[in-house]
């Protein structure tokens, strides 16, 4: 029984260890554009280094832009930092810039922009799936809402995070009674709050690719447990779901932290923003759990006798999605990593 829990956990650890220990690889790239005039910009480009090698990625500006003079470069521990002045014929605001080579590099780029005639900074996350972004205009950057937007961001992140929701669904499905449910949900909440916080303030960094793989694996794992539960079998997880919830909560907390990267944390009100983001996440989670429970209850009240194959659908969905993501993320881990 213990083996059944240990094996996947060991696999996760095995996947993570080399990456955590070796280099702090696969940090996101960082591109900052500060307008110094209507169409001139101070550019800062942090190119992440992978075991001393430069990643083959570079920002591509529109054709009417040119660097003024040679860029100044400086080597840091994990990145090469370039500084340069950029001059364009037309203002960049409202136009697209892309990151060459990002699709195959397996990392992301944080883009921070301060448009002309505003003090507001706007942060965007450029991902490999769509390696380009539209430069926000001054009015868009000014609209950047205050600290409350982090609450919304948290809710949004969980509502759109199908992977997180599937894990929660699995946890709810394998829990037998209310007390156990409370313990499980609380454990999950506390655990993900911890890792979310430490990850968001930068105490612990988790590289993206292995994290995704581990999250995918956790979903696959919970899928198999749901199947086991439905067959009437038992396991360590089924007897102590809160322990597993705690472990996976730690893992998914890192995932939540990446949702924060979209906005970046403000330097002032850092703790408040973090708290609100976390509260947003918890609101989303609790709404989802309540909804699942209410649905279960409603189906009971309507005395619906689902056919066997329908009852298997949730478990199969979780399992199949978990398996698919595991394969997908592992492939990209191998391709993009070492």
């Amino acid at each position: 029984m213990v083996r059944r829990v240990l094996l996947p956990l060991l696999m996760v650890a095995a996947l993570l260890m080399p990456r955590l220990v070796s280099a702090h690889d696969l940090f996101p790239g960082f591109l900052e554009l500060q307008a110094t005039g209507a169409s001139t910009y101070q550019v800062l480009w942090k190119l992440p280094l992978l075991q001393g090698q430069r990643l083959p990625i570079a920002p591509r500006f529109p054709d009417d832009c040119a660097l003024q003079g040679a860029p100044v470069s400086r080597q840091e521990a994990t990145a090469l930092v370039y500084k340069a002045k950029l001059s364009c014929r037309e203002p960049l605001e409202g136009r697209v810039i892309s990151i060459d080579g990002l699709a195959s590099a397996g990392t992301e780029v944080l883009l921070r922009v301060r448009p002309w005639q505003t003090e507001a900074l706007q942060t965007l996350l450029i991902q490999p799936e769509q390696p380009e972004a539209v430069i926000p205009t001054a009015s868009e950057a000014d609209q950047q809402p205050g600290v409350w937007s982090y609450l919304r961001l948290g809710i949004e992140h969980i509502l759109l995070g199908v992977d997180h929701l599937l894990l929660l669904l699995g946890l709810v499905l394998i829990v037998r009674d209310g007390w156990m449910l409370l313990k499980t949900v609380t454990a999950f909440t506390l655990a993900n709050s911890i890792t979310l916080s430490v990850s968001a303030v930068g105490i612990v960094q988790m590289p993206a690719a292995p994290l995704n793989a581990a999250i995918a694996l956790s979903i696959l794992f919970i899928g198999t447990e749901v199947v086991r539960f439905m067959r009437g079998q038992t396991s360590f997880t089924l007897r102590h779901p809160w322990v597993v919830a705690c472990g996976f909560g730690l893992l998914h907390g890192f995932g939540y932290a990446r949702g924060l990267a979209e906005l970046g944390l403000p330097h002032h009100e850092l703790l408040l923003a973090l708290l609100l983001f976390n509260v947003g996440i918890e609101i989303g989670q609790d709404v989802f759990v309540v909804l699942v429970l209410a649905l279960e209850r409603a189906f009971r009240q309507l005395q619906i006798r689902w056919p066997v194959w329908v009852r298997r659908v949730p478990a199969w969905t979780i399992g199949c999605a978990g398996a698919y993501w595991t394969i997908e993320t592992t492939v990209s881990l191998i391709k993009g990593g070492v």
Partner: protein, 182 residues
Amino acid sequence: MPLLFAHLMQTGFGGFYDGIAHLFLTPSDLLLVLGLALLAGQQGPQGGRLLLTLLPLSWWIGLAVGQRWGLDLTLALLSTVLFTSVGVLVALSLRLSVQVLAFTVAGSGLLFGLINGFTMPSASSGLPLDVLGVVSAVALLSVLISAQVAATRSTSFCIAVRVAGSWIAAAGLMSLGLLLKA
């Protein structure tokens, strides 16, 4: 309804949630689903099961057809008459035969889906997430409410359900008058 709510709401959470919001922010649609759920619940668990099967399905079919036709119609009179009648049925707490209930549910689902479809642009590519959102919200609301009504037998709750039906009917009746006057 004027075209006030015709556009799809932008929640900023993507198409699926826009679809859900669309149902909750379109009073006539919301009232119809509430009314039907109360009505089906009054018929007991069987009614709830019927509603859960038929309403989302017919709504979806109506939506698909409506998106294809894309007419600039809201059919306000017809839809108001429909949900008003549903409200009256709830207030009267009538026992309906399965056929009548099925006909009412399927018919109103098709009509309201159709109207939704007229005003919702069809997705250019990928999954029609907004359609999925609307249909999920319809299914969710109808199953939750009808189950609760079906399972509760206390007199005061039954009266409260009938009061809700009466409010739906009264609001529908008055807006019918306003529509006729306009």
